[in-house]
């Protein structure tokens, strides 16, 4: 029996889709069987981030409306044995699906996969309700900005109210230099306000833009952000990984620091 994880944030543009793509890929790399579902009906882009846009034939709404079998709609990601995407529809909207249908679908798929990762749309309306209906566990993504944190706080409240037992936090786009100068909140500041367990910190990294444009998740490619997502995936599977030291400098940096 697998686990259904919803990746959500409340505010848009904080990195939900990137996080979903990287967590999914990271878990697949660890040898798990993973299914990603794009819940953002009408504004799909998880497929783009994964470079699978051209391979979509059937989508989530087709599955819900029984226009196809589930197996037909699952898009296999190349290079992995059990790593699939269920894309969303671009032509419909959030009302095409209701929470009960989602719950039934995830219950069914849970038996086939280790992890089902739901990419939740921004906001707290129908799309959000659909996404959390079948979820066992939630990952809340936030950036260290007051607006994102305020929305994350609201989302955590709603998740608790909807009996999601486990809620964890990813603080995305930390700029360590700004934190040191005192111009940006540190992960500790964020955790203090939101009072939930920290799943990981992802540093701001230009490589994210490159990887998104290329359609290849950066987990496992040696970048700092990639390493951060790897650690997050290990933590999701229950492994105890310490938070990585973001301020680590190169050899030269260390030499200068000593003097």
């Amino acid at each position: 029996m697998g686990e259904v994880i919803v990746v959500t944030s409340g505010k848009g543009g904080v990195g939900k889709t990137t996080t979903t793509a990287n967590i999914g890929t990271g878990l697949a790399m660890l040898g798990k069987s993973v299914l990603m579902i794009d819940m953002d009906i009408g504004l799909r882009n998880l497929d783009v981030v994964l470079g699978l846009e051209n391979r979509i034939v059937y989508n989530l709404v087709d599955v819900i409306e029984e226009n196809c079998r589930i197996g037909q709609a699952l898009i296999k990601v190349k290079g992995y044995d059990h790593f699939y995407l269920l894309a969303s529809s671009q032509s419909r909207d959030k009302t095409a699906v209701n929470p009960d249908q989602m719950k039934r679908l995830t219950e069914l798929l849970k038996t086939q996969f280790d992890y089902i990762i739901l990419d939740c749309p921004a906001g707290i309306e129908q799309g959000f309700k659909n996404a959390i209906a079948g979820a066992d566990r939630a990952v809340v993504v936030t950036t260290p900005e007051v607006s994102a944190i305020r929305d994350a706080d609201r989302i955590i409240g709603l998740l608790n109210a909807n009996n999601i037992k486990k809620t964890e936090l990813i603080v995305n786009r930390i700029k360590i230099d700004m934190v040191k100068k005192g111009d940006m909140m540190s992960a500790d500041d964020v955790v203090e306000i939101l009072a939930v367990d920290l799943l990981g910190i992802v540093p701001d990294d230009e490589n994210i833009v490159i990887s998104t444009n290329k359609g290849e998740p950066l987990v496992g490619n040696g970048t700092k952000a990639g390493k951060a997502y790897e650690n997050i995936c290990k933590r999701i599977t229950g492994e105890d990984v310490p938070l990585m030291n973001l301020s680590k400098k190169g050899l030269l940096g260390n030499l200068f620091k000593k003097n």
Binding site: I149, L158, G182, D183, D189, E192
Partner: protein
């Protein structure tokens, strides 16, 4: 040799003779020694004490009152004037009878606990045991604070008013004492309020407003998040943080054991004696009765390094037509004198 301080029984209560040439420090010390250990004897009663000998000013009187109350756990009325309204005395005698019978009921529960704690426990029987323990802890914490107030009462802490506060005492502390909350109250003030700046004494209230509120509090714990609201017909004791965007509504007072970053609306329905307490006071809005006070936008206050202006253990209450923020020690006295 003549004793420095002598307590003797009179027809109405007690008389306390203080030697003329004592300094105030000595007076405090003597009174402390005098009442130490009397808690089991006087607990829950109301004592009327008439002062003789050394004349105490209003401030010293308040300090002495607090010392007495702390050590005796009784309600003390210190009277420095000879002519006392007989009606008040009568009321006190009746009140004593009432509290005595109440105490007898309670004595088998816990002989060590103070009256306040007992009443708090009585009122929350239905709540989980853990929460009751929390409540009595909170109560003990308050009484600790009371003792501190005895020590620190001489340092005047500026209150926050509608008009910009001018600190006359310490120029170097100006930034620290700068008002963070200002009331924008002019729209709400009615004629009646203007006539009567001093809150009227309600004969039906319990020993103190604080006492009264503890007895009538509903207890919650957790983390109140953005968009969530709690309301109660009684007072609210919230154990945990109240995050920005969350709102507490209470007909009575609101106590937050945690940081209050959201809004607190106390005294809903017109109770002007209600107040708001928070261990960390950074509210976005406070409303008491129909008076609203709102925080100035404080940019970057979420940064720990810039959060040095957090008010710890602070009470917000109505003074005149404004809501004022005050340190707990100072305002407890304020509330007792109502």
């Amino acid at each position: 040799m003549e004793k420095n301080v002598v307590l003797s029984k009179t027809a109405e209560g007690f008389s306390l003779y203080i030697k003329e040439d004592l300094t105030f420090e000595q007076v405090k010390e003597e009174i402390r020694n005098l009442f130490d250990g009397y808690s089991s004897f006087f607990r829950g009663q109301t004592l009327l004490i008439q002062l003789k000998g050394r004349v105490l000013d209003e401030h010293e009187l308040l300090v002495c009152n607090n010392i007495c109350e702390y050590y005796t756990q009784a309600r003390i009325i210190i009277d420095d004037r000879e002519s006392q309204n007989t009606e008040v005395k009568k009321a006190i005698v009746e009140e004593n009878k009432a509290t005595k019978s109440k105490l007898e009921d309670n004595d088998n529960v816990n002989s060590e606990a103070s009256l306040e704690t007992l009443e708090a426990i009585d009122s929350v029987e239905s709540v989980e045991v853990i929460e009751t323990v929390e409540a009595s802890k909170a109560e003990n914490y308050e009484s600790d604070k009371l003792q501190q107030s005895v020590e620190t009462v001489s340092e005047e802490i500026p209150v926050l008013r509608d008009e910009p506060y001018v600190n006359e005492q310490a120029e170097d502390n100006v930034e620290l004492n700068e008002p963070e909350i200002k009331g924008y109250l002019s729209d709400f003030i009615t004629e009646e309020n203007n006539d009567d700046n001093v809150p009227a004494i309600d004969d039906n209230t319990e020993n103190s407003v604080f006492d009264f509120c503890m007895k009538n509090a509903e207890i919650f714990k957790g983390c109140l998040r953005s968009g969530q609201q709690l309301s109660s017909d009684k007072s609210i004791l919230y154990i945990g943080n109240v995050n920005p965007g969350a709102i507490l509504y209470a007909k009575g007072s609101i106590y937050v054991l945690g940081s209050l970053k959201g809004s607190a609306f106390a005294g809903q329905g017109g109770n002007t004696n209600a107040f708001v307490y928070a261990s960390e006071m950074e509210p976005s809005q406070i409303q008491i009765s129909d008076i609203v006070a709102m925080s100035e936008a404080n940019t970057m206050k979420w940064l720990k390094s810039r959060r040095n202006k957090v008010y710890k253990d602070t009470i917000a209450y109505i003074s005149g037509d404004n809501i004022v923020l005050d340190s707990l020690s100072q305002s407890l006295n304020e509330i007792k004198t109502i």
